[in-house]
């Protein structure tokens, strides 16, 4: 289950130091890597569906994975965890200034208060967008993302075009998403890492004064919580 994710040892690997390994580990690799590389290269062009199926079957046969756990984890990440969670957090922050202050000061506690916690969300940072500052999140090195509030990341977030360009020319990337900010707005790009995950708090749209939290949440898109767009505007009455 995903909960196992919480159990492993966290050492102090920073993003810039992924290759740090102990001596014993290096030795282990020297013994086995050549044979493993040869096998992986020899089967690299077999269709991926067959390679995944074979891996699942062999690990199941060996008792290393439980097929029912596989189905449960698929259901969790496909149907239960997703950006609707994050939208509830943002809607509460828009509706309740005390909650918003809590979210910005102690995001782990404020997010857990709505029932959202778990792997890849252990150390959250909430970033508030304002008229002067717009925040946007990336993981340049891999695909770090706050699973408990946003689910699994979209393909573009994990893609080379986004990872390479958002840190160098964020304004042009935002424009591709239809987000054109005034030149006077500062754009801050936050590079996620193994330990810290970010949630953007988009600006509350105008014309939403009378809306309840459920109606507000419907305006909070996933992309606005990554920071590549702003929140949606309400349909004109």
């Amino acid at each position: 289950m995903a909960g196992q994710h919480d159990d492993h040892d966290h050492d102090d690997h920073s993003h810039g130091d992924h290759s740090h390994e102990g001596h014993d580990h290096d030795h282990f690799h020297r013994i086995h890597s050549e044979e493993v590389d040869a096998l992986l290269m020899s089967i690299a062009d077999i269709e991926i569906s067959a390679r995944v199926k074979a891996l699942e079957e062999l690990l199941t046969q060996k008792g290393l994975v439980d097929p029912s756990a596989l189905d449960a984890v698929v259901d969790l990440y496909e149907n239960q965890i997703g950006p609707k969670n994050g939208a509830r957090v943002i809607a509460r922050a828009w509706a309740d200034p005390v909650y918003k202050a809590w979210l910005l000061a102690d995001p782990n506690a404020a997010i857990a208060d709505l029932g959202f916690a778990g792997a890849q969300g252990e150390n959250m940072v909430a970033l508030e967008n304002t008229a002067d500052v717009h925040n946007v999140v990336v993981c340049t090195l891999c695909s770090c993302y706050p699973w408990p509030v946003l689910g699994l990341p979209p393909v573009w977030y994990k893609s080379m075009p986004y990872r390479t360009r958002i840190v160098r020319d964020p304004r042009s990337v935002l424009a591709e998403f239809g987000t054109v900010l005034p030149d006077s707005t500062e754009i801050r790009v936050w590079d996620s890492n193994s330990e810290v995950r970010y949630l953007v708090v988009p600006r509350r749209p105008e014309g939403t004064e009378g809306l309840d939290e459920a109606a507000l949440a419907a305006l909070v898109s996933r992309d606005s919580m990554i920071g590549v767009t702003e929140a949606l505007s309400p349909e004109p009455a």
């Binding site: 492993h8 992924h18 994975v65 075009p161 390479t164």
Partner: protein, 112 residues
Amino acid sequence: MNSVHDCGGFDGFGRVVPAGYDGSEPVFKHEWERRMCALFMVTIGAHYSDDEFRQSRERLEPVTYLTRPYYEQWWFAVARLMMEKGLMTPEEFGRHLAAGRAPSADILAGDA
């Protein structure tokens, strides 16, 4: 490790937003992606750490890293870790894969 995964700031990778993008997409586009993601979720923590997983993905040679889909990169990373940790041998995985694909198992190096 210094390799292509450390890509922040590189030029030339083109557009970010896919054609026709409307702000949503399915969590998985293919059944194999769903199964690979699940295999990762149930083996990380139990058999390898976050950091070992990342490093295993980063050890993909650059052309493979740049050209294979995301969840296929996960397949390489997890398969490598399971073999390097001795939980399955390259020989038995190769044999199992070939058996599941018979009669075209001659693609497998050494079995031709």
